[in-house]
């Protein structure tokens, strides 16, 4: 039986073995985009690491890190930005996506510390959960796969309103076990809705490995049962993720839903409350970190002479400065006033 494993090149029916020449960027992408997104990546990573440290200091109650998932999140975001008419339904591990979509470091820290300036829910929800409508993002809950049917409904509403919006919905490999994942894909397929299902597969649902989660090797292979294209992409390579998503957008708008499985690594424990040493084999994370996009992207940018080592260092120190500043501002900011407890239970 032929394996369903595919590469980004196959999204539009190209050769599975086509390899992007190092120096040549995919269509629509310029060196400036890479610098821009590398800068966002470094800022996100800096915030992510600080948030974890602040949790250990008792200043951030809970956090889910996106370290190791950033290339998938930022690559797809870059495609969304280039397109200009996409709406995003992320899940709880999409810190990088939510930050890079346009939040300031101060807003991020406000959210993680539960301060009044939290842009997603004003301190009602877990950090960066709720909605960031200026950046076209909704994530209501932590119930895995609940966002999938909602995203399909958003796409349906958009079509009924005469729009052309392509909706991205993100989820982990664990969420693919939920019945609503099937229901969402089924409905999107029936109505040929422009939805891109993006599975960030890190092969762990908290502690449960993929082998205990599904009987197939690749989530993407399930696309066939919905009559939609499905592709497995190297989620550690931002450019690959960008390119696949770009092609998926074109397909989605013209023909209907697409399933993209982005193979990523989870560098940290499930959340700050978890200790992955209890269930991950020794050395696994260390090996995964060799493909850290923070390292590989810097290497590429320097090798391609897009940035110098000095510029790379400057980006890192500027990110650190912004993180320091944001932490200080958020720490000294006010929490939401108690009087707000009863606000917005109902809409006017």
């Amino acid at each position: 039986m032929p394996r369903n494993r595919t590469t980004r090149a196959q999204v539009s029916g190209g050769s599975a073995t086509a390899k992007r020449p190092k120096a040549k960027l995919p269509k629509g992408l310029e060196a400036a985009d890479l610098v821009d997104y590398y800068t966002r990546l470094i800022q996100v990573r800096s915030l992510d690491e600080r948030i974890w440290a602040l949790n250990r200091q008792g200043k951030v109650p809970i956090a889910a890190s996106s370290q190791g998932h950033e290339a998938a999140q930022l690559g797809s975001l870059l495609a969304a930005e280039k397109d200009g008419d996409c709406f995003l339904f992320p899940y709880y591990r999409d810190l990088a996506l939510k930050v890079a979509a346009g939040l300031t470091p101060v807003q991020v820290m406000m959210s993680f510390m539960g301060k009044a300036g939290d842009p997603y829910s004003s301190g009602r929800q877990f950090p960066l959960q709720g909605a960031d409508l200026p950046h076209k993002i909704i994530q209501i809950s932590n119930v895995v796969a609940a966002g999938l049917t909602q995203s399909v409904g958003y796409a349906l509403g958009s079509r009924m309103s005469g729009g052309q919006t392509v909706v991205f919905v993100y989820f982990g490999d664990g969420a693919t076990s939920q019945g609503e994942t099937h229901e969402a894909m089924n409905f999107a397929s029936i109505h040929k809705l422009p939805v891109i299902f993006i599975c960030e597969n890190n092969r762990y649902a908290i502690s449960t490995p993929q082998t205990s989660q599904m009987g197939v090797e690749e989530v993407a292979s399930r696309a066939a049962s919905y009559g939609m294209p499905g592709f497995t992409v190297d989620g550690m390579d931002l450019v690959s993720c960008y390119e696949s998503t770009r092609e998926a957008i074109t397909h989605a708008r013209a023909q209907g839903p697409v399933l993209l499985e982005m193979m990523v690594e989870r560098f940290m424990s499930h959340t700050t409350d978890d200790d992955d040493r209890r269930y991950r084999p020794e050395g696994e994370v260390e090996r995964a970190r060799e493909r850290d996009p923070v390292i590989t992207m810097a290497r590429t940018l320097i090798d391609e002479k897009i940035l110098t080592q000095k510029q790379v260092d400057e980006i890192a120190s500027e990110a650190l400065r912004a993180t320091d500043e944001a932490s200080d501002i958020a720490e000294s900011s006010s929490p939401p006033d108690e009087s707000g407890l009863y606000e917005s239970v109902y809409a006017p």
Binding site: A131, I138, G157, E180, S344, A347
Partner: protein, 327 residues
């Protein structure tokens, strides 16, 4: 004014609102060419097309989740749950997500959605076609819950629910669909959500109910009137927000309170109204607060004898009212 059935009034309300606002659409099982199993949407697919009267796959979680997502986008979906008994697969999207959306986004995202569901028993529906589900929604902040019992109220309240910017659970007692008929104005009207209606004035006992049993309450009140007991019958019409003002005003006048509902007695709407009276009209009460409600069994059984044993009837209500009047 024409005399119409509850189901006709509901169909009219949907048609008028779909005609008025292109954002309104219906999605549910068999709502299209079949017109719904109770024919609530009969003829609407022909009039508005299959893009606005959408036959959904048999998967309630996706019906609710997709309707919710469409509401995020600015549409005004009316998902139909074919029988309230089938709402459970979708309960996360309704109670877990829709009810919490406005609060959880600090008011940024609204959910203008009406979840219609035929509920209740007395129709030999057994355990999975008779369920009273209202208490679960009544307990959930963020939802509005409407349960009318006449064609006039059903139409006016459904139109208001469709125009509301919150998730409204719209409960239609299936036994009233064709059994209850009444006058419905030809001209446009709406009724406010959150206002009870005094269906019969009285001075001796306050009798509170909603849905099918409201009609049984009116029969019981008529029976007691023959014995000189003057019963005031309040139709809640809306469970959330609860019209506490109308209830308290009546209790303060009569000094005696009885509540009737088909749903299980424990932790039900009646318990909340009893607590309301105990807390805010304590010194006016002149008798034990009485509840005539469904027993604590998992819904009405199928056999006629068992269904009858479950159901609050006019006779059962009248018996309890006589005891309360004599207290």
């Amino acid at each position: 004014m024409a005399v119409k059935s509850v189901i006709e009034a509901i169909r009219e309300a949907i048609r008028e609102e779909m005609d008025r606002d292109s954002k309104v659409f219906v999605m549910g099982e068999d709502v299209g060419i079949r017109g719904g199993v109770f024919l609530a949407t009969q003829g609407l697919a022909e009039e508005f097309g299959d893009q606005r009267i959408i036959d959904a796959p048999l998967a309630e979680a996706s019906i609710m989740g997709i309707a919710l997502g469409a509401a995020f986008q600015g549409m005004r979906p009316i998902p139909e749950v074919q029988f309230s008994d089938f709402v459970w697969p979708s309960i996360n999207q309704l109670i877990g997500e829709a009810a919490r959306t406005c609060y959880g986004t600090n008011g940024a995202v609204q959910v203008p959605m009406v979840i219609r569901m035929p509920y209740g028993g007395g129709i030999r529906g057994g355990l999975f076609h008779s369920q009273n589900v209202e208490t679960h929604f009544f307990h959930t902040p963020g939802l509005k819950v409407v349960a009318p019992c006449t064609p006039y109220d059903a139409k006016g309240l459904l139109k208001s629910a469709i125009r509301d910017n919150n998730p409204v659970v719209f409960l239609e007692h299936k036994k009233t669909y064709r059994l209850v008929r009444g006058e419905v104005p030809d001209e446009e009207y709406t009724l406010p959500i959150g206002k009870a209606d005094v269906k019969r004035g009285g001075s001796n006992i306050t009798l509170v109910s909603y849905g099918l049993t409201l009609h049984y309450c009116l029969e019981a009140a008529e029976e007691l009137a023959g014995g000189g007991v003057d019963v005031e019958v309040i139709d809640l019409r809306t469970l959330t927000p609860l019209d506490t003002e109308t209830i308290l005003e009546s209790v303060k006048k009569t000094g005696k309170l009885a509540i009737v509902h088909e749903d299980n007695i424990t932790g039900g709407v009646g318990a909340e109204i009893a607590a309301l009276a105990a807390g805010q009209a304590f010194e006016y009460l002149d008798g034990p607060v009485t509840r005539i409600c469904g027993p604590d069994v998992p819904t009405m059984p199928f056999a006629q004898t068992l269904e009858d044993a479950y159901m609050p009837t006019a006779d059962k209500i009248a018996d309890e009212l006589r005891k309360l009047a004599a207290y």
